[in-house]
């Protein structure tokens, strides 16, 4: 299992933001994307996850291999923690939610309505969904937002367990997760050049 991305170009709202991005992540590896706000980290991750088409280049794996976690956790407030996870376990046909609850210490909260959780607990629930998907490639967008130090430790442990099981992860984050083996890719050099305004009328068509 290897995720190879070649010469990928992505656009946000029709405007190219990144071009010529190439990297390879093999099983058991983590690649962390860095770059200033607005450079296109989220757009790149959404493209890799198959939510939007690239404007150029290719992604080496089918979208069926990817599990995607966005800024929003997709949690239903009126369902309990267990019901939320069981729903995704059914959709991904994986069944058992026990390991996911354990990995993020959600056992004690399992029967609480998800709407009553704190922001950090919601995030833990959102990340527990990644364990439930059973997919080999985790595509994570700012996974540690609103997590405390201990929960970041839980998350790092979950990522390690995922890597040990032959998975791989691609994530955008600015904080240090304590994953020494992680490689970092700075997106700065891949910023798309602004289109030359040689065709003024064309820009409005």
């Amino acid at each position: 299992m290897e995720l190879t991305v070649r010469d990928l170009g992505v656009a946000r709202g029709g405007v190219p933001v990144l071009e010529g991005v190439s990297f390879a992540v093999s099983a058991g590896e983590v690649l962390i994307l860095r770059g200033p706000n607005g450079i296109g980290k989220t757009t790149l991750l959404r493209t890799v996850a198959g939510l939007q088409p690239p404007i150029g280049g290719r992604i080496g794996l089918e979208r069926e291999a990817m599990a995607y976690a966005a800024h929003a956790d997709g949690i239903k407030a009126t369902l309990s923690v267990r019901e939320n996870l069981e729903f995704w376990a059914d959709v991904f046909a994986t069944g058992d939610i026990g390991p996911a609850l354990d990995a993020f210490e959600l056992d004690a909260l399992a029967d609480r309505p998800a709407g009553g959780l704190s922001a950090g607990q919601k995030r833990r629930l959102g990340l527990a969904r990644m364990v439930v998907t059973g997919r080999p490639v985790w595509v994570l967008d700012e996974p540690t937002v609103s997590l405390d130090v201990q929960a970041v430790g839980l998350f790092a442990a979950a990522v390690r367990a995922h890597l040990a099981g032959g998975g791989l992860a691609l994530m955008a984050t600015h904080i240090d997760l304590g994953l020494e083996e992680a490689r970092v890719l700075d997106l700065g050099p891949y910023r798309a050049r602004a289109l030359a305004p040689d065709d003024f009328d064309g820009a409005f068509l």
Partner: protein, 218 residues
Amino acid sequence: MIALLGRDMRLAVRAGGGFGLGLAFFLIVVTLVPFGVGPQSALLARIAPGILWLGALLACLLSLDRIFALDWEDGSLDLLATSPLPLEAAVSIKALAHWLTSAVPLIVAAPLFALLLSLPQAGYVPLVASLALGTPALGVIGTFGAALTVGLKRGGLLLSLLVLPLYVPTLIFGAEMARRGTEGLDTTTPMLMLAGISFGVIAVLPFASAAVLRVNLR
């Protein structure tokens, strides 16, 4: 797919899910019309099939924007789109869940509401049959409208404007079937047209809905 249906039904029935909203609206329309028209039961009985159909249609319209808007806001639509479930299937299931939670209560309650409008006895069976045949079309067309407007803030107005013209054929043939039944005429032609519209949109529109949803998720 069963999981998504179960989740949507559960969400609709739990607090804040909007279950009963359509039914309450239907009840309001049906109880207020006799006050507006005045105490003439003969007139009421004549317009009852049309009023009941109009009330059911507007009640369906009321909850349409919730089909995708809530899933869009909390991010689960993105996650569903990346899940093994084909988007066409997800769209169909959500339309089915919407029909079960908003249209089926209307169909069940329709005979009771027909009583309030003094619908003649012969009209009950054709009314319920026409609603049962026609409301799936309302749900599926509405799901298409909801998919078109997902992600727009306050998209409800645009949704109504887009969907209302598409609802016209269903309303015409549905109300016509109920009216003919009430007057003891043959209902075959409007029934066939209504069934044709329903099955046609059920077969075609989920693909269109999934396609526009993909564009809207970009």
